[in-house]
Structures are given as structure tokens and as C-alpha cells.
Symmetry: C2
Subunit: 355 residues, 2 copies
Amino acid sequence: MDIGKNIRIKDIAKLAGVSVGTVDRVLHNRGRVSDEALKKVTAVMDQIDYKPNLIARTLGSNKNYKIAALIPDPTGDPYWAQTNLGIIQAQAEWAQYGVIVDTYTFDIFNKDAFRGLAEEVLESAPDGIVIAPIFYHESLPAFELFQNQSIPYVLFNTNIPEAQPLGFIGQNLNQSGRVGAELINLGQHESGTFAVLHIDEDVHDSIHLLEKEKGFREYFQEHRKHKFEIVDFILNPNEPTFKNQLIELLADDTLKGIFVSTSKGTAVAASFLEKYGKKDIRLIGYDLLEENLKYLRSGIIDFLINQNPKRQALLGISHLVNHLMFKKSAPALELFPLEVITQQNVDSYLGSGIH
Amino acid sequence: MDIGKNIRIKDIAKLAGVSVGTVDRVLHNRGRVSDEALKKVTAVMDQIDYKPNLIARTLGSNKNYKIAALIPDPTGDPYWAQTNLGIIQAQAEWAQYGVIVDTYTFDIFNKDAFRGLAEEVLESAPDGIVIAPIFYHESLPAFELFQNQSIPYVLFNTNIPEAQPLGFIGQNLNQSGRVGAELINLGQHESGTFAVLHIDEDVHDSIHLLEKEKGFREYFQEHRKHKFEIVDFILNPNEPTFKNQLIELLADDTLKGIFVSTSKGTAVAASFLEKYGKKDIRLIGYDLLEENLKYLRSGIIDFLINQNPKRQALLGISHLVNHLMFKKSAPALELFPLEVITQQNVDSYLGSGIH
DNA sequence: TTTTAAAATGTGTACGCACACACTTAATTT
DNA sequence: AAATTAAGTGTGTGCGTACACATTTTAAAA
């Protein structure tokens, strides 16, 4: 291995017996180059392993990139607040590289407002967009707009197969449900009932939640050691019937475990288990939200599956910057590991700067 | 927020009414600067938020950094092979920035050879060192050598409190044992026996393994719901008595679970459980080694705690590069999350490029 | 006061790449 | 054959920082 200096364009030029300008034209195939010169340069290129100095390249173009982040309003919403933290961290991390991240938030109950927002974003002419497209139908026209203006965009949190983004960052929801099933099933030696709860103020992403339930049920079909009954509920905590529905569920003495498909719903379910002294019912939910941590530490919640909303946002922006600034491509599909959080390992996650 | 161009040294100079050279001297406090000039520059610095352009800075210094990685010989050792993979990945990742990583391997049974290696490494005059210091006593003089030559070094895998490295990358072993205890205890409703096995060809890091056991036992002292007996063994698979010791252990009908403190030992224990049809005994071990994955998928192993040797090495080198090249400091203590791996989430870990 | 040293400050260049522009040579047109 | 256009090629500059070196200013010594 030759340890010395890296090969520069200048070196290629010298080896090929042409000027740096010609090499530059060959490398980026711009301008015109004679067949003869082209041959000489490509001959050298085949011989050596030229790796452009990304630092120098970036310094030269030295643009100030503007990135737009579209997420649901994080105010009073612990899940999207985590996402927002990821955006803020990305902002701080990339600020010194001249990257500016503008966050645009929308009301998760107001689909119409979302339509207008996409246009508002475009007016600011961003160089790239990261978006958590929780509205399926309303997102499609937005993507078309982005595509027309050829603005690269990255999806996270919710995947939309019809879109053609730079990449998607999230988790395999079906497999996530299977993990939930596996954890709820562990060490259960008697038959009984498991409940799947979709607790959400809104139903916009119920499709995604149902994907988790599908995985959950599939697991038990493949591992039918004991006879388990699985019941499922789609609950809205704002409905007056909500409380009674849960109480009725808890009254079932055969209930062995509860799998909550939403992060916010997890704490709600936990509060009921605590209130009615049902500590022995295994509870599995999502995400390291403050409330959830409290119940995890007190033993009400047994497992949390970490969706890592913060890092999803952080990585989404990093992908975009790598694409824009360093012309580095990232995998189109970045599926995060399905992290299992328990009382004993939760601190190791909270302490780790990466997560 | 002012979106325009970032503030450059040139701008500070103009605002302070001095030259860029003076600003440079103030920023890096080199050379002499008059009180008056110092005051003018610091006054401007207080006003504005100057963030040096790391790209330009790096381009200028444009050195070829040489990093030495000291690890146990990965040949025929799946754990250190993972570590080696991390080094190779780091190599590829940083190659275009002019970073060269030289790997020095040593025999885990030959402490004397290790002493010589440290000197050999120093002869190559590396700019930084990453090291997995599995020999406690033999490492100390090596660190002193590094310190004397003021070569920055990063520890990973094994922490040595007496050392003064740039940072340590690893896990909290006590807490790791607690996680093992928690997982082995989950859903166990009858009293019985748990075994802690330290299966290792060598005893050099038994101190560290015992730290895991300590955490394991502490967990049960704090959560004494049922009456559990905990037995522990330090076993060498090369000893002739090894097989019988394990068979004897498995003959105990009250045995509910086994916690293996080493990654290689995990597969060994699994093979015994499989051979003697003791599938119901809960088995918890370490790391995503090929062998372990096989037993995890077949259900012999119930949980693996991921120590992520690959990423430990990768991150160790990244820390060093950030320090050398970008003058960015990293946390002195990077404790990885204690990742719980199960049959259902293992693929999400293997598929993820980050892990 | 002049000389000499020290302190303070300014100027210039390299780092590697991208891109603008000027220049040379060859091919057409007038 | 001269003038014009096009094709091909080389030169030069900026990006922001770091650092070497030249230059100016100030203080101390002769």
C-alpha cells in the first residue's frame, strides 16, 4: 500500500500529460474533450484509485444549504417533541457547515392546513426536505410538488410506498408487532387473554398501527403453544366511553397481557393498570417518553419498544446533508433496530449520546 | 436569525479593526498580542457567534493521519473478528480523509508478546492509538509510553481506571449483569436455581466477568420475590473436566436458567442444552456471533445482550479522527446501550447498517 | 540620539477542488 | 487567403483556515 500523499487531480493530470482542467472535464464529463485526451485520462484512472478529497470539494462549493423539516406540532405532544429534539440536534450539528434547518409544524387534526403548508415550504425554496408524512392521501400531492421542483426529500416515521424519496427512515412495523408478541408471551405458561390496544386521539395512522397488530397475531399463529385469545380495541381517549371500555377489559380475570401500539397510549394504559392494582398484567408499549419511563421504573410497564423518534429525525437530516453537501448516497431504506427497553437497561439508553 | 454568509475570521478582523493574523493569534492564543488588540478582538467575539469552518480548517492542515489499532488476534475468534470488522469499516470510511489504520494483533495467551507490541507500535510513530487492553497489568506501562510520547489513545472493550485515555468506549458491566438477571427472572414463578457461567479459555479478564456476576446477584438481592439459589462456575472449555462439570449442572432439576458471561461461552452452553434436550432452561448470553445466532433462532438461547464489538471499534477510531483531524472532543466515557436481542428483533439489528 | 532587540502586527501562500475564463489550435465560412 | 466559428485545452482564482515570514512599531540598550 502506498502510504504517501493521496492522489490529487493535479497528479492525474501530470500522469496523463494533460492539464487539471482537462481532467476535471473528464471526471465530471462537462465541456468537450478530445478522444485522445479522454483515453489518456481514463487510462490513468484505471491504473490508480482516485478518491476526491471531499473536504476540498465542499469548501469550494461552500453553499449555505436550507433544509425544511415538516413534522406534526410538538407542543404538548411528547412523541413529536422527541422528533423535534432530533431536528434541533441536527441543526446544531450541521450549523457550522452552513446548514440551516427550518421547521414547519402542522396540526395532526387538520389535514387541510397540511396541504397549504407544503406550498408554503416550497415558497421558501429549500434545498431539501425531511418529512413525517402521517397523512397518507394529503402527502401524495406534496411529493409531486417536490418532485416537480426536483427538491430531494427524505421520509421518516411513516413510509409511503408510492413516494420516491431519497430514502425512508423508520422501522418494520410488522416485525415490531412480533417483538411485542414475543415479549408478552415470554414465560406465560397458562392460557389466557392478550389485548391489543390502539389508543390514539386520531385515526389517521391506524393503518400503520394495524400493521403492528398483524405482526402480533402472526407471531401467535406461528407459536401456538398455549391457547391464547387475542382481543383488540381501537380507542380514543377523548371519547366518553373510553374509560369504561378499559375498565371492562381489566375486569377480565384471564387477561395476561396488554400490547399498546402507540407511545402515548402506553402511559394511558399504564395509569389504568396502576389505578386498579393490576400490576401483574404484562404491559408492553412504545417509546421512552417521560410518562412511560415513570411507569417502566415502577414496574407497571414491563417492556418498551423504542422507535427512536429523535434519531429518526436526526438521521433524516444527516442523509439529506450528505446528499446535498458531500454527494454521498445513503441507503434508500434505513430500518432501525427494534430496541427492547427494560427497567434494567433503560438508563444505558438514556445515557448514550447516540440514542 | 441572519441567514447570510457565515462569519469568517476575515469578518472578525474587519470588525475589530485588526488583521486576520492578529485574530488568528487571539483565537489560538499563540504569539503575542497587545492588550489593546486583544480587547478589540474579544469584544467582537463576545458580540458575534463565531463558528470556525471545520472544512476549511481540515483542508489546510491536510495531514495524513496514521492510527494504530491494537486488538487480540481475530483469526478463529468470532468475537474479535467482529471488532476487526469495525476497524475495517472505519478504515474504509476515513480513507478518503487521508486516515490510515494499521492493525496490530496479539495473542490472548501471550502476555509477554504484548509488551513488545506496544513498543513496535510506537516505532511506527502513529498519530493516535485505539486499544482493547485486555491485559490489565501489561497495559499500564504501554499507556505510560503513549503518554510520554503524547500520543492520544482511546480504550475500548475493557476499561482501565488508572489510564488517562482520550476516552473509553464500552458498557457498564455491572448493569449488564443486572439486565441478564432481569431477563432470566422474567415470568419465573417457582423457586429454583440459576447458574452463572464464566466460560473462557483464559482467565485474564475474569475480573470483568465477575463484575457482571456482581450485578446479576445484586439484582436478585433487590428483587427477592421468590427464593432463588445462584451458583457460579469459572470454566475452561479446554480442561478435561469441563464437560462433566456442565453435565452435572444440567442434571440439577431445579435449574431454571443459565447466564453466560462470555460471548464464546454462550454457544458452548447452548450446545450442551441442545444435546441434553434442556430447551426449557432459559439461556442468556452475549453477542451476535454466528454460532449464537443459530441457537437464538432455534430457541435454545432466549436472549443475547449485544456488546456490539464492531461498533465499539468503529467508534473508537472515529473518536480519534475527530480529535486529530477536526479537533472535536468526544465524551470521555461512551457507554453503549445494553441491547437486548431476541428471536424476533435480531434481524432488525443485523439489517441495520449502524449496528 | 542612534542602535539593537523584542514585541506586535500585517501579508502571503498552501491545502484540493470547482468553475470561470482566456487562450490555442483546427475546422468552416466568406 | 483572411475572417469567423468551434473545439479543445490550459491558467487562474476563490472557498476559510493555519501558519510561515516579512514588516512595522515599541521598548530597551548603547
